[in-house]
C-alpha cells in the first residue's frame, strides 16, 4: 500500500508534473501490472447484442446502406485482385477482413471533415460518396482520375470528399491531419474535424509521436483512427510494440482514447461518431484503436503465407468475418432488414456493375501528355508553366511530332 503525502503549500510543484503527489515508497510503474484496455463491442460474432439495452443511434436504413458498401468493397477487392494477377493493373491492396473498420468510420464524417488516409481505406471513400467508377479510374490512371494518373493504384485523392493525396511514406499523414485540424479550428470552429487513418505498424514512426503530441498541446479537433490488423506487411504486431497496443499510448499524450472491435460495424460506427462529437464540440483529439485482422496479403506484392499460416487466416474468415457478423444481425427474425434473396440479388448486381466500371476505366484514354508538366507550381492560378517546364514540354512536343508513328498517341486524351 502506497503512503501518499499531499504537497503542502510551502512545497513547490514541479512544472512538468504539477499534480504529482509525493511518496516515500520506491515503486516503479510496471506496465505489466496495469489492467489491459478493454475492447468496446456492441455486436458479437454470432449476431447477438452484447448488451440488449444498448441504445443505437444508427438507423436500420443506414445499417443496410453500410452493409452494401462492405459487400461492394469486398466484391471490388476480389475482382481487382484477380485483375492484378492477370496483369491488367500493376498493384492493388485489398481490405479483406477490415471492411467494417473503413466503411463505418467513413460513414460518420460530415461535409467539411478532412480525410488523411493510409492506403486501406477504400471503404471509407465509398461511404463518403466516391463511386466505384471513381475508384476504378484511379486504379487505371486514366484521364478521369482526379490525380491525373500521377499516383500509383490505391493512392486516391478527391477534393469533393476532402480526401487528401495518400502519401506513400508511412505516417506523414498524421501531422498533416493535425495541421488541417488546427486550420479547421481557426476557420470553421466547432463545425468540422479531420480524421487520420493509420496502421499499427506506422504508429512506430516518429510522426505518430509528433502528431499526437502537438494535437494534444494545441487542442486540435482530430480523430486518430488506428487500424490494428495484426500485421505490418510481415511484422506481427507483437514485434511492433511491447505495450498494450496503440491505445495505451493515448493517455500518455493526454488524449482521450478508446479501443474498439473493428469487426463490429455497429461499434465502429457508434464509437467514431461519439469521437467526432468530442473532437468537434470540445476541440479535442481522440484516439481510436480498432482491433481487426488483415485477412489479405499486405498488397499484391506480398505473399503472407511465408510468415503466417493459412489455417490462421481461415480461422478469422470462418469465425469473425465483419461482413457475415452484421448480416447475421440484419437477418435475425426480430431485426429482419435483410434476406437471402436481397443478398443474392445485390451481390449479382454489384459484381456486374463493378465489371462494367472496370471495362469503362480500361477503355478510357490516358491523361493528356501535356499534363506531365502542369501542376508542378501553382502560378497564375496554375495556368502558367515555368520556363524550364515549358522548355521540356516543347522538347517533348517536337519529339512526338517527329516520331509520331512510334508512339501510341491515340491512347492518350488530346
Amino acid at each position: 500500500m502506497n503512503v501518499l503525502i499531499r504537497l503542502t503549500k510551502s512545497t513547490l510543484a514541479y512544472p512538468g508534473a504539477e499534480k504529482s503527489l509525493i511518496t516515500p515508497q520506491l515503486v516503479f510503474n510496471d506496465p505489466t501490472t496495469l489492467p489491459v484496455i478493454s475492447t468496446f463491442r456492441i455486436l458479437s460474432p454470432t449476431g447477438a447484442l452484447v448488451d440488449n439495452n444498448h441504445s443505437l443511434t444508427i438507423t436500420s436504413e443506414k445499417i443496410v446502406d453500410l452493409y452494401k458498401h462492405m459487400v461492394t468493397l469486398h466484391t471490388l477487392d476480389t475482382i481487382m485482385y484477380d485483375a492484378q494477377r492477370q496483369g491488367r493493373l500493376s498493384f492493388y491492396m485489398t481490405s479483406s477482413g477490415e471492411e467494417a473498420v473503413s466503411v463505418a468510420s467513413g460513414a460518420i464524417l460530415e461535409k467539411h471533415d478532412q480525410i488523411f488516409a493510409q492506403y486501406r481505406e477504400q471503404g471509407a471513400f465509398l461511404a463518403r460518396g466516391l463511386s466505384v467508377q471513381d475508384i476504378m479510374n484511379q486504379l487505371y490512371a486514366n484521364s478521369n482520375d482526379h490525380g491525373k494518373g500521377r499516383n500509383m493504384p490505391i493512392h486516391h485523392v478527391n477534393k469533393a470528399i476532402n480526401l487528401h493525396p495518400i502519401s506513400s511514406p508511412l505516417a506523414t499523414q498524421i501531422p498533416h491531419a493535425v495541421g488541417a485540424a488546427y486550420a479547421l479550428k481557426l476557420t470553421k470552429p466547432n463545425q468540422a474535424c479531420s480524421i487520420c487513418y493509420v496502421g499499427e505498424g506506422a504508429c512506430s514512426e516518429g510522426d505518430f509521436h509528433a502528431g499526437l503530441n502537438i494535437a494534444a498541446t494545441r487542442e486540435c479537433p482530430v480523430i486518430f483512427f488506428v487500424r490494428n490488423n495484426g500485421y505490418a506487411i510481415s511484422t506481427a504486431s507483437k514485434e511492433q510494440y511491447k505495450g498494450d497496443g496503440i491505445a495505451s499510448r493515448g493517455p500518455g499524450y493526454g488524449i482521450v482514447t478508446i479501443r474498439i472491435d473493428g469487426n463490429d460495424l455497429l461499434a465502429v460506427y457508434e464509437a467514431t461518431k461519439a469521437a467526432r462529437d468530442l473532437a468537434v464540440k470540445e476541440n479535442r483529439p481522440v484516439l481510436i484503436e480498432a482491433m481487426t485482422y488483415r485477412r489479405s496479403h499486405h498488397s499484391t506484392s506480398d505473399d503472407s503465407f511465408a510468415y503466417r499460416s493459412k489455417h490462421e487466416v481461415d480461422a478469422w474468415k470462418r469465425h469473425d468475418n465483419p461482413i457475415s457478423r452484421i448480416r447475421k444481425y440484419m437477418q435475425r427474425p426480430d431485426i429482419n432488414i435483410w434476406s437471402d434473396e436481397l443478398e443474392e440479388k445485390f451481390r449479382k448486381a454489384t459484381k456486374k456493375d463493378i465489371l462494367k466500371c472496370l471495362q469503362i476505366a480500361e477503355r478510357t484514354k490516358k491523361p493528356p501528355l501535356s499534363e506531365i508538366f502542369t501542376d508542378v507550381y501553382f502560378d497564375n492560378g496554375g495556368k502558367e508553366l515555368q520556363p524550364h517546364l515549358k522548355e521540356q514540354k516543347e522538347e517533348l512536343d517536337e519529339i512526338l511530332a517527329q516520331y509520331r508513328s512510334w508512339y501510341h498517341l491515340e491512347d492518350y486524351k488530346a
Partner: protein, 330 residues
C-alpha cells in the same frame, strides 16, 4: 535597417494583411525566436497565430503542410535549416509534391524559413548550406537573400506565393544593416522570384553569388579594382530556384569570364548547376576562360576557428579565382 528587422517587418506586414498567415516553430512566440526574428509578433497577433511548438521538426513541419492543405498560409521557422533535415520528408515528399499529386487541386502555401549555411563556431551539424539540396526538387521555390531589401521583398513574396518556398537566411547577416529605398519601406514592396540583381556593374569578369557571399564578392570586386584595375560585375542571385540564368548569360556575354561563389559543398552544388547552365547556353561561346567555382571545402565543417576559417570562401579566395579566370599571373 538590419536584416533581422527587415524580416520581422515582412512577417508583421503579411500577418496584418492576411489572417490566414500564421507562424509556427520552436521558441518563436514567448522567446521571440532563437534569433529574435519574430520579436513582438506574439503580443501583436496572439497565440493562435504565433505558435511555440514542442521540439519536433517533423511534427511541426508536417502540421504546417497539413494546415496549408486546409487553406492556411503557414510560415514555419526552423531554428536552423540543419534541423530541417529531421523533417525533410515532410518538405519534399509532402510539401513539394502534393499539388502535383493531387492533380492540381490541393495548393500548399507554406514558407519554410530560418538560418542556413555556416554561422561561426558551431561545428559540423550546424554549418551546412542546403541551397543545392532544395534547389534540385521540382515543386519547391528556393530563396537565398542577401540585403535587408532582399529579405523584406522576398519574404513577402514567399508568403504570398501559393507554392512551397524555402527561404534560406544567414545568421551572420541578421545584425548587418543596409540602406532601404523608399519603395522598399512600403507595405506593398515585393521582389519577384527568379530575378537576380546586379549589385555592382562591371565589364571584365562576372562574379555570381548568393546570401553572405555577395558581401565577400563585393569586397573582392573592390580589391580587384584597387589592385588590378579589374572591373568585376557582381550578381546577387536572390533566388536559387527559379535560377535567373538569363541574367548570368547576359553578363557573361559582356565580360566573357565567370566565377561562382557559394558556401555549400562543391559537389553537385549551386556552382555546378551554374556551370552546366552556362555550357548549355549561348554564353558558352562567349567564355574566354573556364568557369571558376569558389565553394566551401568538401569536409564536414570543423569547430576550431583556425580550422573553420579555412573551410569557407573569403574575398581573397574569390580574388584568386578571378585572377585565374583572367589569366593573371600571381
Amino acid at each position: 535597417m538590419s536584416v533581422r528587422d527587415a524580416l520581422n517587418t515582412a512577417l508583421a506586414e503579411e500577418m496584418d494583411k492576411d489572417d490566414d498567415v500564421f507562424i509556427m516553430g520552436e521558441e518563436v512566440a514567448q522567446y521571440n525566436g532563437a534569433y529574435k526574428v519574430t520579436r513582438g509578433l506574439l503580443d501583436r497577433f496572439g497565440e493562435r497565430r504565433v505558435i511555440d511548438t514542442p521540439i519536433t521538426e517533423m511534427g511541426f513541419t508536417g502540421i504546417c503542410v497539413g494546415a496549408a492543405l486546409a487553406g492556411l498560409k503557414p510560415v514555419c521557422e526552423f531554428m536552423t535549416f540543419n534541423f530541417a533535415m529531421q523533417s525533410i520528408d515532410q518538405i519534399i515528399n509532402s510539401g513539394a509534391k502534393t499539388y502535383y499529386m493531387s492533380g492540381g487541386t490541393q495548393v500548399c502555401n507554406v514558407t519554410f524559413r530560418g538560418p542556413n549555411g555556416a554561422a561561426a563556431g558551431v561545428g559540423a551539424q550546424h554549418s551546412q548550406d542546403y541551397s543545392a539540396w532544395y534547389g534540385s526538387i521540382p515543386g519547391l521555390k528556393v530563396v537565398s537573400p542577401y540585403s535587408s531589401e532582399d529579405c523584406k521583398g522576398l519574404l513577402k513574396a514567399a508568403i504570398r506565393d501559393p507554392n512551397v518556398t524555402i527561404f534560406l537566411e544567414n545568421e551572420m547577416l541578421y545584425n548587418e544593416t543596409f540602406p532601404m529605398s523608399e519603395e522598399a519601406m512600403s507595405t506593398d514592396f515585393v521582389i519577384p522570384f527568379g530575378q537576380a540583381k546586379i549589385e555592382r556593374p562591371g565589364s571584365d569578369i562576372t562574379i555570381v553569388a548568393h546570401s553572405r557571399n555577395v558581401e565577400f564578392s563585393l569586397k573582392a570586386a573592390e580589391i580587384l579594382k584597387e589592385k588590378y584595375n579589374v572591373e568585376a560585375e557582381v550578381i546577387n542571385l536572390r533566388t536559387i530556384k527559379p535560377l535567373d540564368v538569363p541574367s548570368i548569360v547576359k553578363s557573361v556575354k559582356k565580360t566573357n569570364r565567370l566565377v561562382s561563389v557559394e558556401s555549400g559543398f562543391p559537389a553537385f552544388g549551386v556552382g555546378s548547376e551554374i556551370c552546366a547552365q552556362i555550357m548549355e547556353s549561348e554564353a558558352f561561346d562567349a567564355l574566354d576562360a573556364p568557369v571558376e567555382r569558389v565553394t566551401g571545402a568538401e569536409v564536414p565543417t570543423p569547430y576550431a576557428k583556425e580550422l573553420e576559417d579555412f573551410a569557407f570562401p573569403t574575398p581573397e579566395i574569390i580574388v584568386r579565382a578571378c585572377k585565374k579566370a583572367l589569366y593573371m599571373e600571381e
